[in-house]
Symmetry: C2
Subunit: 144 residues, 2 copies
DNA sequence: CTTGACCCTAAAGTTAACTTTAGAGTTTAT
DNA sequence: ATAAACTCTAAAGTTAACTTTAGGGTCAAG
């Protein structure tokens, strides 16, 4: 497919796709004789990943690192790949932990504060993040 | 405490703290007679929250929305607060879901690809995100 | 009582991640 | 075969989130 079609299917603007190419994030599969970029379903898949990674706070550089994580035995040792993957894994686990805390705090606000009998001053996300608000929560909900 | 101390304890640069004040994210508790900003432990707590929210991809505007989520019965109805909280909750759940997928894909890479007998070409994060790679994973690890 | 560390404001500069502009070639439907 | 729709490059412009600069007060120690 050409760039316009890829743009429609992913929601990224055409210029953004060309920008990502310059940044090394997404190379077209080939070019037509007249110079038009051509993409395929792998391009689509890659862009969906880029979209997800951006939504959880990875920069384009970090996404690039995630995308080049491949066992390319000519270029990188298996151990190298594993080390990078483990670092990214730790970053991701940390993000999940932080988000789980925020989620629990918001549950406290929606479940307990609104209409509850606690004073209004305690109904902020910051006070909901305190341990004394969290320890009586449903363990199903707190677990990640 | 004054701005330099707050900067040291949070890792935010002094100028960033003044910038956040302009953006309405963090007001000093008071000013000394000579105009110095004064902060307390609540400021510290708020900055830690800002740091976490930034790390998982929220913009300063979104963080502002999260921070002003409070049951202020004079300004907003309880229903309004609940609606905003529920929207944020959905955003956060989506982020957690995406991150869990990436985490699982990275586990596939570190556990199965490196040293495994699969061909090297399948050892990318994108192929690890495919369903056929995930369905044989440990359910403990996949659950959020 | 002055020197060094700290604080102030306002405005300009920087960086990442786009977006727009300008000018030109290509493809497709009528 | 020509107009509309699509594509190309290079360069300049924009926005969010800072960071730096310039010029000047404040405070604690010697």
């Amino acid at each position: 497919m050409r760039i316009g079609e890829l743009s429609k299917q992913t929601g990224f603007q055409i210029e953004t796709l060309r920008y990502y190419e310059k940044q090394g994030l997404l190379q077209p599969v080939s070019r037509t004789k007249s110079g038009y970029r051509e993409y395929d379903s792998a391009s689509l898949k890659q862009l969906k990943f880029i979209h997800q990674a951006k939504s959880v706070g990875f920069s384009l550089n970090e996404i690039s690192e995630l995308l080049t994580l491949r066992v390319d035995r000519d270029q990188h040792s298996c151990a190298e790949v594993k080390t990078i993957a483990e670092q990214k894994l730790e970053q991701i686990e940390n993000k999940i932990t932080e988000l789980a805390k925020m989620r629990d705090a918001l549950y406290v606000i929606t479940d307990a504060c609104c209409g509850g009998d606690e004073p209004a001053t305690s109904c902020t996300i910051l006070s909901a993040l305190d341990d004394d608000h969290r320890e009586n929560q449903d363990p199903e909900r707190v677990a990640v």
